[in-house]
Symmetry: C2
Subunit: 485 residues, 2 copies
Amino acid sequence: MSIIEPQETTLYHQLAETFATAIHHGTYPSGSRLPAIRRVAGSHQVSVNTVLNAWRILEDRGLIEARPQSGYFVRGVLPSVTKASKYLAQVSSPSSEKLDLIDTVFAAQNHPDYTNISLACPQNGDFYPAAKLSRIMASMLRRQPGMIGRYALPPGSLRLRREVARRAMDSGMALVADDITLTHGCMEALQLALRALTKPGDCIGLETPTYFFLFPLLASLGLKSIEIPTDPQRGLSLDALEMLLTEKRIAALIAMPNVQNPLGCSMTLEDKKRLAELVNRYQVPLIEDGLYGELQFCTPLAPAVKAFDRDGWIIYCSSFTKTLAPDFRVGWMAAGRFSAEIARLKAVSSMSESVLLSETLGHFLESGGYDHHLRSLRRRYISQMDEARGLIARHFPQGTRATLPQGGFVFWVELPGNVDATELFHRLLQEKICVTPGALYTLSERCNSALRLSCCYPFDERYTYAIKRTGALACEMSGLSPGIS
Amino acid sequence: MSIIEPQETTLYHQLAETFATAIHHGTYPSGSRLPAIRRVAGSHQVSVNTVLNAWRILEDRGLIEARPQSGYFVRGVLPSVTKASKYLAQVSSPSSEKLDLIDTVFAAQNHPDYTNISLACPQNGDFYPAAKLSRIMASMLRRQPGMIGRYALPPGSLRLRREVARRAMDSGMALVADDITLTHGCMEALQLALRALTKPGDCIGLETPTYFFLFPLLASLGLKSIEIPTDPQRGLSLDALEMLLTEKRIAALIAMPNVQNPLGCSMTLEDKKRLAELVNRYQVPLIEDGLYGELQFCTPLAPAVKAFDRDGWIIYCSSFTKTLAPDFRVGWMAAGRFSAEIARLKAVSSMSESVLLSETLGHFLESGGYDHHLRSLRRRYISQMDEARGLIARHFPQGTRATLPQGGFVFWVELPGNVDATELFHRLLQEKICVTPGALYTLSERCNSALRLSCCYPFDERYTYAIKRTGALACEMSGLSPGIS
């Protein structure tokens, strides 16, 4: 696993990467002390400052912690999921049971009495700059009181599109305002991309496991899916993909190369370049879901695959729903060679986005507070994620494995002892606890013992209890004791 | 033409209707004086008050005006369009020229230097209660500062859905909050309805002329259309529709029974009941576009066709985009027997609507200011429409005919002398004036001499000049003099 590529970064990033890999490979187990800073500086031929910078990155990523007067220690992490799923290359449509399960899970999360520890829908108002956004909105309404009374027309706020393009540069994408189509969240961006690229009966390549709402979306468009093996640490298997592309069996591919949902992993820079090259060579459109791209834990951000898009075959989709203003549902897409078609399709599908909401985001981005906010958001999500992982380590059955996400706020947990996670879901639901079983994320049988958990909720007693209770029930079902094996 | 049905209304509504019909039929020509109030009271055996109430309705509808010390006079109206289009029953898909024309018109309206006198996109900030909506929004953000930071999940604001259901009762629809799916404007409601009801290759029945964005929307879904003759005063021809239904040639029907776009007409109560009966009998879904339903000029509002929907075959779609908050793009649909499917489709297509915007509307509706606002909005649109009609009467070629809309802010103008309205559009565009040619509203050749005009823009010198200039150019092209024939 390589989070940061040497050619893109500085010396201390390289050093951080070396130690992150060592930690993930068990060279430094949980709880162990890292070598003294001067010793590392000597053995790696770098300055003390470089080591300190590297340690800061590892701290940010929740991998190590400083203990006063004692040095730096590896935080308790769980063994990572490493097994790549078997490649089945099966063309599938979801069964009605699968769609019902998705409905049931989705309905459960809306129930005010249920404790939701699983869905990727931020409910933590404190984490977002609501006060500042409110002030911007209020001031705009004072200056342009008639704004609410004017029809919002495409292409929408130039200010926001300009800021989106400017920020996309940070992920290596050379975009200008006119390349951007604003959408009603990332979900609409995916929907429009699929409608522009496919016709009923077509096959779409998906990562496995993948974002579960893709299954009903594909079904609603008469599309079938082929699941492509996806490594919990490296992401999409490009060898498997290339096989598919050679056979011309897919009309489009959907992938999350940065911070995959539900695994939390990112592809290496090398793999991203190869992926871009493949889809351009085979002229098969890639719908790159970059929803969590700006929530990557590494800095600077690793680039998008779209950064290497030679001939415009990549449609990049993202949103501010997970990063800045969950309630606004303002998303965007940069559709390369499909731009004109996508803009037309957006207009006839839902016209445009609210100028009030778009300009509010545009002003916020212009003001320069976004990077600061993102840093603080990442820190908070890392900290909550580590806390959750700590609870899992203590309360889930021995042998439980969890991914170590490279961003965002969800992670993937594989339970030992053939625990049926769907049964676990149903039993927890009776206790008003809502988790999402692995079966949601694939049409195959291969994730039946997995769960996705999420850390975007207030980390309160209710949440803590729900995690512990999930672990206790999993222990009961597996017959295993809790604790790290 | 019967705007108000006797069984639905009171004595003075009946009287107003009698005189409206007389005016429209030329019994009382433009500029003529109505009989004295006491004489009308005597001849119709009603009280003086009843006549005064009836006159108030006719004044509200822009048909008559009081002149101090002289009595009531018929305002100058244009001869109405009465010719029903010929029934061709042709299955069509738009040509690329047609789609290009739609693109060109739609792009032109966004050009800041162009004067737009044609598109139905309110830009008159003063007409909408922006200040009150802003105050509600600000107070909500003060009380719930974290609101922006919480993910918006379906089904969305109960407050708004409850208010929508309550108001739907005024149009005769028995709905509860759970019947309502919130959407991103009416456009998304239409899109979702079509996606739920059809598969590529299906035929959709449309009014002719109809809302022009339906053509690219249908094309994007691989759907064909059959245009059904639509009378400029009575709306959809039900005899023609029944023929189609017998032949089972359409998968769904889209219609605007109240305040049709672009004609401005509404169906009679009798026709609405028959339409509801037909679609239920033949089990062919009707997508009822009620976008302008609350902008009907008659009070109380004439009911929706959905009011008579026996078995849930009618999907009612509407929005607050034309009536309350154009920028918010919050719409809704009540999908009858398709409700569960539509709710699922909305979630996987664009998830949900902003709680902030929805609750702002919900609070506004609860506060009771909406009816007052609607009354004032109708008065303003009637007054602007009448002003525009006055300009047309003076500046358009003799023989020009225009519809007398029963609500909303658009009307339909048929030019005499075989003027090619598309050529007129292109010539006006060179002078930076944007109108919409009739060819946009049908795939047939039958509206080539028509224009749609709109009164939702500030009625300033620019607008006035654009109308006059359109008339002058039409005179030049037709070789006819301006003025009422």
